[in-house]
């Protein structure tokens, strides 16, 4: 599924009166972590290689993105796994409030989002690590935590 199909699905949610509740990203770090329990509609937002294509020899750097919509107490998600470096289209066109989530995922996860309604140009958060939820940053911290494991931290 390409970006256009994804945006068409988002448009359907918008036209059916759903509310954008969350755009959540999970950095997949653990080796061979399948998207267990994933439900909802899948979409590949860009022409990126399909995430469920034959697994490469080494674990690719993947992010799982969930766009969550709520209507009458029900939450549904559109989910997709993308590779680090892939581009995701903004849904600001349909959901004006999306810009805040999209700026956030760009700053904290380093995911490129094209066409953000209000581009905050990296001004949303001030973090010590440049992209704190990138694969490299997380692996680095996990290694440090493992090294410091015997001493119980506060």
């Amino acid at each position: 599924m390409d970006g256009e199909t994804f945006l068409a699905k988002v448009r359907d949610y918008h036209e059916a009166g759903w509310r954008l509740a969350i755009i959540n990203v999970t950095t997949i770090v653990a080796a061979a972590a399948p998207a267990h329990g994933a439900h909802g509609v899948a979409a590949v937002p860009t022409a990126a290689p399909a995430p469920d294509a034959a697994p490469a020899a080494e674990t690719p750097n993947l992010f799982e993105i969930a766009w969550g919509f709520v209507k009458d107490g029900t939450l549904e998600t559109i989910r997709e796994q993308i590779h680090a470096g892939d581009t995701v289209p903004s849904i600001s066109e349909f959901f004006g409030a999306a810009f805040l989530y999209e700026n956030e995922i760009r700053e904290l996860f380093g995911i490129n989002v094209t066409g953000i309604g209000v581009d905050l140009r990296g001004q949303l958060y001030k973090t010590a690590t440049k992209v704190p939820f990138s694969h490299a940053a997380i692996k680095d911290r996990l290694a440090k935590n493992a090294a410091a494991a015997p001493a119980k931290h506060s």
Binding site: R19, T26, G37, L100, Q123, K126, N145
Partner: protein, 361 residues
Amino acid sequence: MKRTTIPFGPQHPVLPEPIVLDLILEDEKVIDAIPTIGYIHRGLEMMVERVEYTEMGFVVERICGICSFMHGMGYCVSLESIMNVEVPERARWLRLIWAEISRVQSHLLWLGLGADAFGFENLFMHCWRMREEILDIFEQTTGGRIIHSVNRIGGVKRDISDTELAAILARLQKLGAEFKETAKVFGTDPSIRHRLSGVGVLTMEDAKAVDAVGPMARASGIRMDTRLSGTFMYDQIEFEPIVEIAGDCLARVVVRLREVEQSIDIIRQAIDRMPKGEGMPLENKPRGNPTGEVFTRLEQPRGEVLYYVKANGTKNLERFRARTPTFANIPAMIKLVKGSDLADVPQIILTIDPCISCTER
């Protein structure tokens, strides 16, 4: 016309927490507002990498000092859902009672701040005096005034005895009667009406377009309340969300005024309906490590909060995310600020009841 840019915040008399809006003005009219947050971003979500899931609930509580109970509750409910832990009935009722007390506390705090911002020092003091009493109730029942730490995965840590509950209810009802007098001032004082009425109007269409939540949406005529889904014992409570249609700053104040009284009534119903007796089970301890994921929604004082928890069978969660109501209401705030007069900006920002600590985690 020449444009002027004025930074609003991070320090400002009406803001208890830091946020910046770069206001772009033409004469006295705001043409655009560009938000910057991040002054109190603590990276709490990242802490799942080194804090075990059993202890993470206490970190989550510290996201914010006003909704601390409900953050802890949301985290525990999420883990209970992943781990299929059945929470004892009395514990579920106790959570509801503490959650509603939190709502009263939060609204009183905000009404005080609001009063202070539009120049009513005395009203501010009355609201905060009443809030102190609520904090006393928290201290008496949980041991903490701000951080309560009574939520455990699988239940709650402490019971409130039936006699204590009756005393708390009597105290709240007395407080409710006093609050009616204060609420009258908010509702009828001509200078308050003059300051807030017709200012910062968010129409129902606009509120839907920017996905506003909580009192912000309800003040614009949207009947939206996560409690309506009936989870966490709310299915056994009779209540109707408080909805106002004006959508202005005054309507947002009135929604919160009425919600204080409504929450006291919900607590009364809960105390009536919960199973009575001493020594009832309060906790079912989970076993092993969690595997799976869940989205949890709760109605906090500021609106819908959404938690995402993903666990991979280890002691550390793979991902924890809290989308707080203020985060969802910032687009609405920006929409309102655009086109308003510079002098009205503080009122508009304040009436969304911004909680920046929550927003930034």
